[in-house]
């Protein structure tokens, strides 16, 4: 019955694993659950066994569903196992097996259509209007939502949507970048995108906004909805290709990771392969650009801060040091390294909604490290992590003591940009 499904599992990649276990201490789910099936080594082995008929796809489900897809295991693996490929193949196969659209169905509806985004945005705006949010809180309207959604809703930042005008047909400046806003990011954190653009412009970088851009496809991808993410990838490549820019810049660890793997996503599509490769060559995280320019970090920020990297920024985009290098250049800022900073915070797309309990265990571990450092500020580089850290701070009752900001916000502040 499932034989052709099983063929889709990336069996070959599992042979690169020598079962040394080096990946175990880097895996958030192994650290919190302490069970081999929730480790990268265990998951790889289960996929292999599934192909060999030693376990069924059903046996695979729990282990794969609870993987965050953070890919930290890839960066520490001495034999360079392509865990991402193995994981991805398993997610896709399981999705087909269950033969139903996942929880992301509504999400993708939102993400694919801009008008839906607008609706979402309106809804959020409403929620954050003081009156409405008082009403909601008073009537305990949030309680009807499951705890997970209630918690998430309560930490969503107020939505501000005032787009910076960026289109400028004349190339007068040194480098020109196309800005990728990302849909979730733009719904919740459009001010961060705006600040990013302002920082670039203030440092002589020409920014072009690409109107036709759409969702990066990351969430669909993680849910195993490959066809959808391929469609979105093509739309984005088409949109960005139209502009003669040096880089495609974004301020979202997760979306950037999705963009940077378009070549991989479209590898079997002859007519798109070369275009995708060219596209990927231009994708840059904002921190890489900022690290390479002479930022006017004139205003001191006298605060103790720590940094929670985004998994996908690190493990997929391989941007490891730039954000910290920038942070360390900020005057007055007392930077303290977060213990286990490279371990995922448990946000991972919509993992924290779908696998709420597992995510909260990971977050609790993260917050215990935050409490060791006692920062006044946690710096992030991706909206998912940002929300998760806000939730962590709230859970610990530390809202008074700890702020959470995107690195762009911090740089803007230090540059005196509002």
């Amino acid at each position: 019955m499932t034989s052709n499904l099983i063929d889709k599992l990336d069996y070959d990649a599992t042979f690169d694993c020598v079962q040394c276990g080096f990946c175990l201490p880097s895996c958030p789910t192994y650290l919190t659950m302490k069970e081999e099936k929730h480790s990268p080594r265990g998951r790889i082995n289960l996929v292999k066994y599934a192909v060999e008929g030693k376990v069924t796809l059903k046996d695979l489900e729990e282990a794969i569903d609870l993987c965050l897809g953070c890919r930290q295991c890839e960066t520490v693996c001495p034999t360079d196992v392509k865990y991402g490929d193995i994981y991805e193949s398993a997610v896709e196969v399981l999705r087909e097996k269950r033969n139903k659209k996942l929880d992301t169905r509504i999400m993708s509806l939102f993400l694919e259509r801009n008008y839906m985004l607008d609706i979402m945005y309106q809804g959020l705006k409403l929620y954050h209007t003081p009156l409405i949010s008082t009403v909601i809180n008073k009537t305990k309207a949030l309680d009807v939502l499951p705890e997970r959604l209630g918690n998430m809703a309560a930490i969503l930042p107020p939505v501000k949507k005032e787009k910076t005008q960026t289109q400028n047909p004349f190339r007068t400046k040194k480098i020109t970048v196309g800005f990728f806003r990302g849909c979730m990011m733009d719904a919740f954190f459009s001010n961060i995108n705006d600040l990013a653009i302002k920082i670039l412009q203030a440092h002589d970088i020409q920014v072009v906004e690409i109107k036709q851009q759409t969702c990066c496809g990351a969430l669909q991808h993680h849910a195993g909805e490959m066809e959808k993410s391929k469609k979105l990838a093509k739309l984005n490549i088409e949109a960005l290709e139209k502009y003669d820019v040096d880089y495609y810049v974004n301020a979202i660890g997760g979306c950037g990771a999705s963009l940077i793997e378009y070549d991989h996503l479209l590898r079997d599509d002859e007519s798109w392969k070369a275009r995708a490769e060219k596209f990927v060559g231009k994708v840059r995280d904002i921190s890489v650009i900022l690290d390479n320019i002479n930022l006017n970090l004139d205003i001191p920020i006298n605060i103790k801060a720590t940094y929670q990297p985004s998994c996908h920024l690190q493990n997929v985009q391989h941007v490891f040091n730039e954000p910290e290098k920038i942070i360390q250049r900020i005057k007055g800022l007392d930077y303290k390294v977060l213990p286990e900073k490279d371990i995922c915070c448990g946000s991972a797309g919509i993992y924290n909604i779908v696998n709420y309990d597992a995510s909260m265990d990971i977050l609790d571990r993260k917050m215990s490290h935050v409490k060791e450092v006692e920062p006044q500020l946690i710096i992030t580089s991706n909206p998912g992590c940002h929300l998760q850290m806000l939730l962590g701070v709230k859970k610990e009752g530390l809202e008074e003591n700890i702020k959470v900001k995107h690195i762009v916000e911090v740089v803007a502040e230090a540059c005196g940009i509002r």
Partner: protein, 469 residues
């Protein structure tokens, strides 16, 4: 089994006992290439629980396989006869430091690296440092008597354990040794349990000795035109009055593999063999000692020496050694990591044997290891999906051990005998020697309850990588 499971669940009802296929599969392997499905997984978190489990296993006549992180390269924790895997990885948090006694007491699941870190936070050091220290547990280290590069100067795991709490095959709790460095009361049961690979008792607590942490280290790399000279260099350095903390060796295939992917400044791939030497101690002493090594090696023909000027340079040089394992898998997906020790003077001869075997069987066979103590790791890199290649590797492995024993060596320097090397046991020991060991096992575990199928070969057992059918 079903009944045992039910009985266990009464006490360990919070997800620490499982018969789910996904769990059983996840504990069916280690870092070797063996594969055996257990029937039950149990994750105890106290001595009482271990006793309880052992007693139940006796009642239901089920074998027990203790397990740490499953990084054994010899198949040590595999459930070869089915039964219960006793996984200690969850019991990883009991650590008590007796600072003024320079001792530490730990639970069996504590990760070796954590022991290093905690000791360091007291300005102390726990010397054993297997390359797997980030993941392996102290229980696994003790059961395998793990080594590592630092053994040359400091000795192996057994040299730092002064006391153990052990659950015996019938469920008694015994204490061996104590918490003093010197202790000659009665038989040395501590040393008997250490290195017994989980076949004589289950370690539930260990008292470890710590030493003052050396203030500084200094590294040098020596490149040679031929093995013989590099082998001579090892003895020459050790006879010069200096005891380095590490002397590591790599053959040209290892160096080639590393440099082809990670070019490192000043290091060329044209040497036949490469040594890395690390000294530790007081910075002033290190300067003087490094000079002596420099002078000692200056007279060796075709020897090029680089001395790291700072920590960064040192770590660049060590990079070559650290990258060997990952770099050599570029030759193929399956890595058979062997482990043998030869007398230091025989290292060059052993390298020559390896070259001969390499050519005779036409295999990617490389060798590196801890030259200072003669502990070498020949590695064969093949593809386990190719039975013909596996057959050649099988014969090569047998020849490697023959060569090592012929040169006065031993079957295992640090990875243990476990499942994979037991067919060779009679090559190293005679009947009387084997009987003596079997008598010990028989006396302490008459029902063969603990980790059966390990160390002792079945009758006429021979080494196989692939089965013929």
């Amino acid at each position: 089994m079903e009944e045992l499971y039910k009985a266990l669940k009464k006490q360990l009802d919070d997800g620490r006992v499982s018969i789910e296929v996904a769990d059983l599969s996840s504990y069916s392997f280690d870092a070797s290439f063996g594969e055996y499905m257990p029937d039950i997984i149990c994750q105890p978190m106290s001595t009482e629980e271990v006793v309880h489990i052992v007693k139940l296993c006796n009642e239901y006549d089920v074998p027990i396989y203790p397990r740490g992180s499953g990084t054994s390269l010899s198949g040590g924790p595999l459930a070869v006869h089915g039964g219960l895997v006793l996984d200690f990885s969850r019991w990883d948090n009991d650590i008590t430091v007796y600072e003024n006694d320079l001792m530490m007491e730990v639970s069996p699941g504590v990760i070796t690296e954590k022991i290093h870190k905690v000791a360091e936070s007291y300005g102390l050091m726990y010397p054993p440092d297997p390359s797997s220290s980030r993941i392996s547990t102290i229980g696994g280290n003790l059961a395998e008597n793990a080594g590592g590069p630092r053994c040359l100067k400091y000795g192996v795991t057994k040299d730092y354990v002064v006391g153990l709490e052990v659950v015996t095959a019938n469920g008694d709790v015994i204490h061996c040794g104590g918490c003093t460095v010197k202790n000659v009361t009665g038989y040395d049961m501590t040393k008997l349990i250490v290195g017994s690979e989980g076949t004589l008792g289950i370690i539930t607590k260990a008292t470890l000795q710590l030493i003052p942490k050396p203030i500084d280290t200094k590294t040098a790399m020596l490149q040679f035109d031929d093995f013989i000279t590099s082998g001579k260099a090892v003895s020459k350095i050790l006879r010069s009055g200096i005891l380095p903390s590490k002397i590591e060796i790599m053959d040209k295939y290892c160096v080639d593999a590393v440099l082809s992917t990670h070019p490192i400044e000043n290091i060329t791939a044209d040497s036949e063999s490469l040594l890395l030497v690390e000294l530790d101690g007081h910075p002033l002493a290190l300067e003087a000692e490094m000079k002596i090594i420099e002078e000692t090696c200056a007279s060796l023909p075709g020897c090029k020496m680089i001395i790291a000027q700072d920590e960064q340079q040192a770590s660049e040089l060590w990079e070559v050694r650290k990258l060997v394992s990952p770099a050599i898998v570029k030759f193929g997906p399956t890595k058979i990591s062997e482990d043998t020790s030869v007398p230091i003077s025989q290292i060059p001869a052993f390298f020559e044997e390896i070259e001969r075997i390499r050519q005779a069987y036409d295999l990617n066979l490389v060798v590196f290891g801890h030259a200072g103590d003669g502990n070498l790791h020949p590695n064969i890199i093949i593809d386990k999906r190719k039975p013909e290649e596996m057959k050649r590797a099988e014969k090569a492995v047998a020849e490697i051990f023959k060569a090592s024993l012929k040169l006065g060596g031993t079957l295992s320097g640090e990875h243990g005998i476990g499942l994979f090397k037991k067919p060779f046991m009679y090559n190293e020991f005679d009947e009387a020697g084997m009987k003596f060991m079997k008598d010990v096992k028989q006396a302490l575990d008459p029902n063969n309850r603990l980790n059966p199928g390990k160390i002792f070969p079945d009758e006429n057992e021979r080494f196989v990588l692939v089965h013929d059918e």
